[in-house]
């Protein structure tokens, strides 16, 4: 097995596919319906969305690798507890790092950093991929899925902050002249229900482009 592994280049076509399909066709949020909770709750502003996306990339990449290394030693009966323990330890690390270097953002995210533990993307990918594949493909699969999740998060955060506060990443984008001329920020974009509607719109656009994803009902 080791010899096979040596022959296959690190970024073979198959491995590159692991990284790229979750961005579109196999996107965790819009197609697999995993990890919706946090995607909607933290996206009122761009900054927490970016921080959340990076945290999930870190937890997913490392976690999927660890699970893949452990896959032959864990008895299937207790695998859920093992997976939860791995995730919880990584999330505690991320939480402590955030508190140390970005305290304000960590306050804004409040319980949602902790909720990465029950983010279904992570458990879902551990079950579907990490438990049955080698460490390097698992790492790529983890990073790929987390990025597919991340870009939706950042897109929703971008639209909501632009429409809702007229700023991007805290900087004023809509010029003062617009406000003087009577432009008003759309207060509804900051409210939680708008996130659902924006994700709905993203799904609509994606399925319009990629007709194969359309559901029966």
């Amino acid at each position: 097995m080791a010899a096979d592994n040596m022959k296959e280049p690190l970024f073979s076509a198959k491995n590159r596919k692991l990284l790229s399909t979750p961005l579109g066709r196999e996107n965790p949020i819009t197609v697999q319906v995993l990890g919706i909770c946090s995607a909607l709750a933290v996206t009122a502003k761009l900054e927490p969305s970016v921080v959340m996306a990076l945290s999930v990339v870190a937890v997913m990449g490392i976690g999927n690798t660890v699970i893949s290394l452990l896959r032959n030693t864990v008895p299937p009966r207790i695998r859920i507890i093992v997976q939860l323990t791995v995730i919880a330890s990584l999330v505690i690390l991320v939480d402590q790092v955030l508190k140390a270097i970005a305290y304000d953002v960590s306050k804004q995210l409040s319980v949602f950093v902790g909720l990465i533990i029950t983010n279904c993307i992570i458990m879902g990918r551990f079950e579907a991929f990490g438990m049955s594949n080698k460490p390097w493909p698992s790492f790529l699969d983890g990073i790929g899925n987390a990025m597919g999740y991340g870009w939706i998060l950042i897109a929703v955060g971008f639209v909501r902050e632009l429409l809702g506060s007229g700023t991007l990443y805290g900087f004023q984008v809509i010029p003062q002249a617009f406000y003087d001329a009577g432009y008003v920020d759309n207060g509804m974009a900051i409210l939680p229900p708008m996130a659902l509607i924006i994700v709905g719109a993203i799904i609509w656009i994606q399925r319009y482009k990629d007709r194969e994803l359309i559901e029966e009902n």
């Binding site: 909770c37 909720l115 996130a195 659902l196 709905g200 399925r207 359309i214």
Partner: protein
């Protein structure tokens, strides 16, 4: 007593798990195809939230909080174990779900078979862990308050999932644009329901 009732009502309507915090969305979207299954899942969530929030309240108050260990010895007053809360809370939730599953299987096989796979899925339902984390963050004073918060959140989740399931059963007969069918329209309906629930927001209890 009045406090308890107001916490209960507030966590059903004002701080609804689905419409205000988006917790437990994954199973909410995946299991809401028919009213029957969603009633089963909703009842299980009420049950598990009602058990795990008070247990985690005890763990938080007697083990994790800064100064919580003074009941062992006054010298431990400086110990702050709150960084362990994620791992302990999730362990409690996973074991409670396992326990509930075994109890139901033993005493009510009919209910057990009707809940099926949803029981183990509850362990990774964000609203359960979210309930415990909100309980910790908001610092409820007594175990009774924590319990009524847990039960109220569960009832709120139950109402939300039964509501969307009823709408989805009806929408099958409507002419939704093809790319929006299924997941897309469910997102948008949930958003509209969320806007309706926001009318409870200003209410002071």
């Amino acid at each position: 007593m009045q406090d308890l009732v107001s916490i209960f009502v507030k966590s059903i309507f004002v701080d609804n798990m689905i419409f205000a915090y988006f917790l437990g969305m994954c199973s909410y979207l995946a299991v809401s195809k028919t009213v029957k299954t969603s009633v089963g899942l909703g009842a299980a969530v009420i049950f598990v939230l009602g058990i795990t929030v008070p247990i985690n309240y005890l763990i938080n108050n007697y083990i994790l909080q800064p100064g919580a260990l003074t009941w062992i010895s006054p010298t431990l007053a400086d110990v702050n174990l709150s960084f362990l809360s994620f791992i302990l809370f999730i362990a409690v939730i996973a074991s409670m779900v396992q326990l509930v599953e075994m109890i139901i299987e033993k005493f009510s096989p009919a209910l057990y078979s009707s809940l099926g796979i949803f029981l183990p899925l509850i362990a990774v339902n964000c609203s359960i862990l979210g309930g415990s984390l909100f309980m910790q963050e908001r610092g409820y004073q007594t175990i009774a308050e924590a319990t009524s918060f847990g039960l109220g959140s569960g009832v709120g989740w139950f109402l939300a999932i039964v509501g969307i399931a009823a709408i989805r059963e009806k929408i099958r007969y409507s002419n939704v644009p093809a790319p929006l069918r299924g997941l897309g329209i469910t997102f948008i309906i949930t958003g509209l329901m969320g806007i309706a629930f926001m009318s409870f927001m200003g209410i002071k209890l």
